[in-house]
């Protein structure tokens, strides 16, 4: 079961910063689930993580927001 990083209620760009810091704690290739609010957070954060070199594996609706499954890559 991958780590879950709950960033619901955290606004841009703080949500991205916290996602980045949390992912940087992982080993390359490890996966984590990030919970994000609908709207700006889910349309911005996954894209930014991809630009950092991570891979977005899946995005599903969960609990009024979205669960984003990410595999840590190399920047």
């Amino acid at each position: 079961m991958p780590d879950t990083i709950d960033l619901r209620g955290v606004r841009c760009p703080a949500n991205y910063v916290r996602a980045r810091l949390a992912l940087d704690e992982l080993e390359l290739g490890d996966e984590a689930t990030i919970l994000l609010d609908e709207g700006e957070p889910v349309s911005n954060v996954p894209r930014s993580l991809r630009e950092d070199g991570d891979t977005v594996l899946a995005i599903d609706r969960r609990g009024g927001g979205f669960a984003v499954l990410v595999r840590r890559g190399e920047a």
Partner: protein
């Protein structure tokens, strides 16, 4: 030299005896450290110690004297700098940083802004000033709709149909502002280009890069202005490439020179002759 000539050379009369400002041209709002240092040296030598940042990305050196007109021009040229135009001329384009810097930006604004500047900057014999602006996307931070000629970056999206490219997350359908994107039974996007406003929201939101760019282009506006009676521009072309955008800009200035009367802004000319007539002049058979 009369005041008009001086304004053409970027000298603006301020309140007070022999008190002038020199307007320095800062294309795209970009300067390097050496230029800014050099500018500080010039201001220290010739000005009263103050700078002013204009609303159109220029810098003015305050409190210079008329007798230093030639010396200031020569000193600016040493750092590759020049003066900005004033009066009834084509002004320095305003531009946002565009896709080279901005995460939302769709197009690079520098090539278009630089070419507009190279071809049209300072043109005279116009009824009034003519302002241009280049925005990298429809967010319109450079206010292209508030300028005589404006451009907003746009793009045509395309889906990478290869297996695994799209993870069927559906974010694209949620962000499309024009209702041009629906999801198929597998949750993959189907893009209706006939309804697409080319704002690039789907490309920007796609977390895997499966929605990419087929073509980039520009939405073109004419006739926007502020002043005492502000008016938003007319959209004259919805998606043209950079070469056509430049052609339209050039023809618009030509048409303003040919059709303009008295001291009117481009907007007044367009409304007097009619948008359809003006569009034919500017677009030709394009």
């Amino acid at each position: 030299m009369d005041e008009k000539t001086l304004k053409g050379g970027g000298f603006i009369k301020l309140r007070g005896a022999d008190r002038w400002a020199v307007r320095v041209k800062v294309l795209l709002g970009d300067m390097n450290v050496a230029q800014l240092r050099h500018l500080a040296d010039i201001a220290e030598e010739f000005g009263d110690g103050e700078f002013h940042l204009t609303v159109r990305q220029g810098i003015e050196i305050r409190g210079v004297r008329l007798t230093d007109f030639d010396a200031i021009h020569a000193r600016l040229a040493e750092a590759g700098l020049g003066t900005g135009s004033c009066g009834a001329r084509v002004r320095v384009p305003v531009a946002c940083p565009g896709s080279a810097v901005c995460k939302r930006g769709l197009n690079d604004t520098a090539p278009l802004a630089r070419e507009i500047d190279r071809r049209l900057y300072g043109r005279e014999n116009l009824p009034h000033k003519l302002k241009t602006a280049v925005s990298g996307c429809s967010a319109s931070c450079a206010k292209p709709q508030g300028n005589d000629v404006g451009f907003a970056g746009a793009l045509e999206p395309v889906l990478d149909e290869r297996d695994g490219a799209c993870i069927a997350c559906g974010l694209c359908a949620g962000v499309c502002p024009s209702g041009a994107l629906e999801l198929d039974a597998e949750g993959r996007p189907v893009i209706d280009l006939a309804r697409c406003d080319r704002e690039g929201a789907c490309v920007n939101a796609c977390p895997t890069g499966a929605i990419g760019v087929a073509r980039r282009g520009w939405r073109v506006y004419v006739g926007g202005k502020f002043g005492a009676h502000p008016a938003l521009a007319y959209e004259i072309a919805s998606f043209v490439d950079t070469s056509d955008a430049l052609e339209i800009a050039g023809r618009t200035v030509d048409a303003f020179e040919r059709l303009g009367e008295g001291r009117e802004r481009l907007r007044d000319t367009i409304d007097r002759v009619g948008l359809d007539v003006f569009a034919r002049e500017v677009l030709g058979n394009a």
